[in-house]
C-alpha cells in the first residue's frame, strides 16, 4: 500500500506542473493585458508610458519564463502574490469567498446524495417497470436541464409564490452571512443554488447507483442470500447496496471537487460572490495573478480528490494495488 501511495503521489507532480504550464500559456496567449483593460476602462487618453509603468509595477514586463518561475515558486513558499486588480493578496481574495463556495458544494452534495441513492435503488429493484422509467426520466432530465436555468426558474417560482401568498414578492438575500453568524439568513440565501446544482448532480449519481445495483443484484452471493430465505430488504440494504456504493461514492466525490470551482454559471444567476464569480471577473479583467492561481486551486482540489478516491479504491479492493 505504501508503495502504491508513493507511486500515485509521484504521478501527480507532472500533472500539476503540466496544468500550471497550460494555464500560464493560455492566459498569456490572450491579446492585451490588465494594464490595457484598466486604461480602456478609465476612459483616459491612452498614454503608452503609463501603461509601461503599470506593467513594470505588476511585473508583466519581465521575461515570460521568469514570470512562470515566480508563479511556480509561489507554491513552494506559499505566497501566491497579489491580485493585479485589487492589489490584495490572492490568498485573501480566495479566503473571503472560500466559505461560501465550500458551503454550497457541501449542501449540493448532500442534496444529490439524498435524492440519488434511494431513487437509484428503487429504479434498479423495479427494473423495467413504470417506476424505473419515471426515475430514469427524472435523472436524464436532471442532466439535461442547465442548472443556471433551473436557478432562474427557482427564483421566478419564489417570486410568484410569495407574491400570491404573502402579497409581496420575496427574493433570497444578496449579502452573504456566515452560517455561524446568522444561520436563517445564510440558509435562505444558499439553499436555492444548492438545490439547483444538487438536482443536476443527483442525476449522474442516480444513474450510477442504478447501474451499480443492477450489476450487484446479479451476483451469485445475492442469489445465495435470497436462496437462504433472507428478507429482500436485508438482501438489498446489507448485501447489495454495500458493494454497489463504491462507484457512487467516487462519482459524488469527484462532483464535489468539480463543484468547488464549477459553480461559475450558477453563482452568476444567484448573484453570489464565490470562487466562480472571482474567476469570471479575473478572466474579464485579465488579472493573470488571480486567474492562474484560482484555476490551479481548482485543479489541485480536483487532482487531490481524485487521488483520495483512488486510494480508497485501492484500500477497499486489493486487486487494484497489485496490478
Amino acid at each position: 500500500m505504501g508503495k502504491y501511495i508513493f507511486k500515485r503521489v509521484l504521478l501527480m507532480i507532472p500533472t500539476l506542473i503540466g496544468a500550471a504550464i497550460l494555464v500560464f500559456l493560455l492566459l498569456r496567449m490572450a491579446p492585451g493585458d490588465i494594464c490595457a483593460v484598466r486604461y480602456l476602462g478609465s476612459g483616459l487618453a491612452i498614454d503608452e508610458s503609463q501603461i509601461e509603468l503599470c506593467r513594470e509595477q505588476l511585473g508583466l514586463n519581465k521575461p515570460q519564463i521568469v514570470q512562470f518561475f515566480d508563479f511556480i515558486w509561489g507554491y513552494v513558499v506559499f505566497d501566491l502574490g497579489d491580485s493585479m486588480w485589487t492589489g490584495q493578496p490572492v490568498t485573501h481574495e480566495i479566503a473571503i469567498r472560500f466559505e461560501l463556495s465550500l458551503q454550497i458544494a457541501i449542501m449540493a452534495t448532500l442534496v444529490a446524495t439524498i435524492i440519488a441513492i434511494p431513487l437509484g435503488i428503487i429504479s434498479a429493484v423495479r427494473q423495467n417497470t413504470i417506476t424505473d422509467y419515471v426515475v430514469r426520466g427524472f435523472a436524464i432530465a436532471g442532466i439535461a436541464i442547465p442548472s443556471f436555468w433551473l436557478g432562474l426558474m427557482i427564483i421566478l417560482g419564489l417570486l410568484i409564490v410569495t407574491q400570491s401568498w404573502l402579497g409581496e414578492p420575496w427574493m433570497p438575500p444578496i449579502e452573504f452571512k456566515s452560517i455561524w453568524e446568522d444561520p436563517i439568513h445564510n440558509m435562505a440565501q444558499l439553499i436555492w443554488p444548492a438545490v439547483a446544482t444538487g438536482y443536476r448532480y443527483s442525476a449522474v449519481a442516480t444513474r450510477m447507483t442504478r447501474s451499480a445495483m443492477l450489476e450487484v443484484l446479479r451476483e451469485d452471493y445475492v442469489r445465495t442470500a435470497r436462496a437462504k430465505g433472507m428478507v429482500e430488504k436485508i438482501v438489498i440494504n446489507r448485501h447489495a447496496l454495500k458493494n454497489a456504493l463504491l462507484p457512487v461514492v467516487t462519482i459524488l466525490a469527484l462532483e464535489f471537487a468539480f463543484l468547488m470551482g464549477g459553480l461559475v454559471v450558477t453563482e452568476q444567476v444567484f448573484n453570489l460572490n464565490g470562487l466562480g464569480n472571482l474567476m469570471v471577473d479575473g478572466v474579464e479583467r485579465q488579472d493573470f495573478a488571480m486567474t492562474q492561481n484560482l484555476v490551479m486551486l481548482v485543479v489541485i482540489i480536483y487532482v487531490f480528490i481524485n487521488l483520495l478516491t483512488d486510494l480508497a479504491y485501492a484500500w477497499l479492493d486489493p486487486r487494484i494495488r497489485y496490478s
Binding site: L16, G18, I140, P146, W149, V295
Partner: protein
C-alpha cells in the same frame, strides 16, 4: 469449442436477419425495446427538421426588432411565444437557435470524439514512450473540470461561435482518447493484430482496418454523450456572455438578459430554457439507447 460457439451465434444472427421486415415492423420492435431511445430520437429529428426548415416555419425574421411590440406576452398578435426586450419574436429565435445548437453539438461531438479516436488508437498501438508522454499530456487536460478549461480557452481566444466550439472540443478529446485507448489496448493483444503485422501490413492499414472498426462501440458511445454536453456547454458559455454573440440567435444567449425582465415577462426566461433542456434530453435519451445497444456488458439488462 470456441469455433462452435461462434458458429452458432452467426447462424442465429443470420436466421434473425433473413426474413425481411417492413420498416414499420422494425420501428415497432425498436420502440418496444428502447421506448425512451425512440422518444429521444423523435425529439432530435423534430429539432433537425425545425433547423432545416427554419426559414419556412418561423413566423418572423429572428433578427427583426419590433419596437411597437416589446416584451409582448405569448399569444398576442401572432407572437406565439411573445417577444423579447427588443420586440424580437421568441418562437422564431428559438427555431433559428436550433441551428446554432445543432451546429455546435454535431461539430464538437464529431470532431472531439474523432480526434480522441485517432489519439487513443495510436497511443495504444504504438505504446512505449509515445503512449507514456501522450497519457501524461491527457492527464493534464483531464485535471481541469470541463467548464473551467472551456472558460480558460474562451478567455484566450475571445468570444464567438468558432472559438466556443474550439473551447468545447478541447476537453472532449482526452475523455474520448482515454476510453478508446483502454479498449484498443485489449484489442492489440488479440492475435489477429500480430498476424496482420507478420503479414507485413503497414501501421496505417492495421490501425484503420483492424483496430479502428473494433473500437467503434466506445467511439459512438462517447460521440452521442458529447452531443448533449456540447449543447449544454455552449448554452452556459453564451449565457455568461463568453459564447455566441448577439444578434445570432442562440438559446443560452437569449437567457443572458432574462433575469432583468423575468419578473414582469417570465416567458423571456422560460422558453429558451425549455428548448435547451428538451434538446439535451432528447440527445441523452438517444445516446443512452445507443449505449445499451452497443455495450455488450449492459445488453439485455
Amino acid at each position: 469449442m470456441m469455433v462452435t460457439v461462434s458458429e452458432v451465434q452467426t447462424e442465429a444472427d443470420f436466421e434473425e436477419v433473413a426474413p425481411k421486415k417492413a420498416w414499420t415492423q422494425v420501428a415497432m420492435d425498436l420502440s418496444r425495446k428502447q421506448p425512451l431511445g425512440v422518444f429521444g430520437l423523435a425529439i432530435v429529428l423534430a429539432m433537425v427538421v425545425a433547423a432545416a426548415l427554419a426559414n419556412v416555419v418561423s413566423p418572423f425574421n429572428p433578427l427583426q426588432e419590433h419596437f411597437d411590440a416589446m416584451l409582448v406576452p405569448p399569444g398576442t398578435d401572432s407572437y406565439l411565444l411573445g417577444t423579447d426586450e427588443f420586440g424580437r419574436d421568441i418562437l422564431s429565435r428559438l427555431i433559428y437557435g436550433s441551428r446554432t445548437a445543432l451546429l455546435v453539438g454535431f461539430v464538437c461531438a464529431i470532431v472531439g470524439s474523432t480526434a480522441g479516436l485517432v489519439l487513443g488508437v495510436a497511443s495504444a498501438y504504438f505504446g512505449g514512450l509515445f503512449d507514456l508522454i501522450l497519457q501524461r499530456v491527457l492527464d493534464v487536460f483531464m485535471a481541469f473540470p470541463l467548464i473551467i478549461l472551456a472558460l480558460a480557452v474562451v478567455a484566450t481566444l475571445g468570444p464567438g461561435i468558432e472559438n466556443v466550439m474550439i473551447a468545447i472540443i478541447l476537453p472532449f478529446v482526452p475523455q474520448c482518447a482515454r476510453v478508446v485507448r483502454s479498449n484498443a489496448l485489449a484489442i492489440r493483444e488479440i492475435p489477429y493484430v500480430d498476424a496482420a503485422r507478420a503479414l507485413g501490413f503497414s501501421n496505417a492499414r492495421i490501425i484503420l482496418r483492424h483496430m479502428v472498426p473494433n473500437v467503434m462501440a466506445p467511439y459512438l458511445i462517447m460521440l452521442t454523450t458529447f452531443l448533449g454536453q456540447a449543447i449544454l456547454l455552449e448554452a452556459s458559455l453564451s449565457f455568461l456572455g463568453l459564447g455566441v454573440q448577439d444578434p445570432i440567435p442562440a438559446w443560452g444567449l437569449m437567457l443572458t438578459n432574462a433575469s432583468e425582465f423575468f419578473e414582469g415577462s417570465p416567458w423571456v426566461a422560460i422558453y429558451p430554457g425549455v428548448a435547451i433542456s428538451l434538446s439535451v434530453f432528447g440527445f441523452n435519451l438517444f445516446g443512452d439507447a445507443v449505449r445499451d445497444t452497443l455495450d455488450p456488458k449492459l445488453r439485455s439488462r
